[in-house]
Amino acid sequence: METLIQQLINGLVIGSVYALIALGYTMVYGILGLINFAHGDVLMVGALVALQTMMFLMGMAPGMSPLAMLTIALLVAIVVCMLLGFTMERLAYRRLRNAPRLAPLITAIGVSFLLQTLAMIIWGRNYHTFPQLISTTPLQPIEGVFVTPVQIAIVLASAALMVGLLLLVNRTKIGRAMRATAENHRVASLMGVDTNAVIAFTFVIGAGLAAVAGVMYASNYGIAHYGMGFMPGLKAFTAAVLGGIGNLGGAMLGGVVLGLVESFGAGYIEHLTFGFLNSSYQDIFAFIILGLVLIFRPTGLLGERVSDRA
């Protein structure tokens, strides 16, 4: 029983991170129909910028409280990533907005390589230790079940950001402009919506969320590395497709479902297949589920809204 609950927690934590990254993919896709493959690498830049900031602060003001330090590092990371998101859109994607769909896709992959290589040049090839400023000493809410404060912070922060994003999109003026642009950006611009600004805003928000995800990811595992964005980026993309790409609620659901499936998959694959498959096949569960969902619901779990784009 402890094992079951523990796997549930494991899945929920990693799923929350996936969900947060998936939001960035899905927002951009919803508005432009572009899969921004560089999104995972924005996460990496966020983590490494935060690391650099912490190092700087530790040198400058050694007495600073960990929470203040983390907050400053997080804010710096968010600002840098937002600038990066803005620049990416302005330099790489805007010119290709009316090009065939393949061109921006390939460009996104190129931007991803560019970011990784730049990070490698700046921060080197080694794994870096990421200061764990929120405590990682495990608590035991139930006998035999362990949760660390940083994991609780991750789930809470993800949930708060998701709710915030939903409110932004559904309740504000810019949110209405985003939805209008998503539906048809030519008509939206005829109605007086500055679609260029809306698209840039979308990239900026997505990049900011990726920065938060990056800092949370690095805080949880205690490491940062120039290639760290690749796998979570790929998983979050899977989560976005699973939930129905272009759909915010779907991205959240997809992220959490993927996290849980992975965790239970790795934990129980041996029992479920009577020892035929072991944990080296843990990833197939996620992709079997993805395959099944796409066969029976080609637009993902909650994906009707964007069927005209898919």
Partner: protein, 315 residues
């Protein structure tokens, strides 16, 4: 090298150095260059990944090769006549790790994880065998990849089997975070890993999760424990200045093996001295140098290290 007489003639050895840049492709290129230059024997290479492809070229050129550092078992399993090594291979390392877990740490239940690379899997398989041979029980066998950072799911599964020792076959970049996650999951089992995790990097990446119950292994002996270690250090400092490089004593013994085989055969020609090299036995810097029928060093030494005062300390 002075004063060596081979076949009644005084000879002078000449060193032909090449840099393989730890790259398999460059490794084969320089191997071909050495063969073309007509060298009589090769001491090298460092990495298994370059030693193995290069060994085919030396074999075709009929030149004996002795690696002082490559530990992948495959190197000597290719049925090449002239491939040797003076350092323990991963089979010997895994054997030492498994028996250490059961006999020295008193483990009854051992959980084994590997990263599915040739290195990690090979080491884990050998450790698995040795644990069972020593009377221990392998209660879990789990897998990850060499790019993973999240191990919570498999570690939770392992926790349920309540092992005394957890062994990981893989590199420090995974072993460090794994150790942190074990701590976060409240697992207090001892942690054991091979030479991939026996680095300063590992200590850095594991943070406060690396403790006095963390162990790792390295092929070979620390210089202080080698029979000829102290004398070697003195001469090395006099000749080159600076500290002894990790594999230098093994490279020295490898070169001595070639020289002694040539003396016995009375010839510097590979075809003539190779049979002598196969049955050589002498007391080198690192211990007794003698090869088994595959070319691996007999009784290759493996040292277990324990984390103490911020460092790996040999046990």
């Amino acid at each position: 090298m002075q004063g060596v007489t081979i076949g009644g003639k005084k000879v002078k050895f000449e060193l032909v150095g090449e840099d393989d840049q730890a790259d398999p492709r460059t490794g084969t290129t320089v191997a071909q260059r050495l063969v073309d230059a007509g060298v009589k024997g090769v001491i090298g290479h460092l990495n298994s990944g370059t030693s193995i492809p290069a060994s085919r070229i030396y074999d075709q050129g009929g030149i004996p090769q002795i690696s002082p550092a490559s530990t992948n078992p495959k190197l000597t399993q290719q049925n090449f006549k002239g491939v040797f090594r003076t350092i323990a291979n991963d089979v010997q390392q895994g054997g030492a790790l498994g028996s250490f877990a059961v006999k020295s740490l008193g483990a009854k239940k051992v959980a084994i994880i590997d990263d599915r690379t040739a290195y990690g899997q090979g080491l884990a398989d050998e450790t698995d065998k040795a644990v069972k041979a020593a009377g221990g029980q392998v209660v879990a066998r789990e897998f990850t990849t060499d790019k993973a950072t999240d191990f919570n799911a498999i570690l939770t599964k392992i926790r349920a089997t309540n092992p005394d020792v957890i062994f990981f076959g893989g590199m420090d970049a995974q072993a460090g975070p794994m150790l942190r996650q074990l701590k976060q999951l409240g697992v207090s089992a001892k942690f054991l890993t091979g030479d991939g995790g026996c680095s300063p990097e590992m200590i850095k990446l594991a943070g406060d999760a690396v403790t006095s119950t963390t162990y790792c292994s390295m092929a070979g002996l620390p210089l202080d424990k080698m029979p000829g270690g102290a004398a070697f250090r003195d001469q090395y400092k006099k000749r080159f200045g600076g500290e002894v490089q990790l594999y230098a004593p093994y490279a020295y013994d490898a070169a001595m093996a070639v020289v002694k085989a040539m003396e016995k055969a009375g010839s510097v020609e590979p075809a003539k001295y190779l049979p002598e090299l196969k049955k050589i036995s002498f007391n080198g810097v690192t211990g007794n140098v003698a090869f088994d029928d595959k070319g691996d060093i007999k009784e290759g030494a493996v040292t277990i290290y324990n984390f103490k005062d911020g460092n790996w300390v040999p046990m």
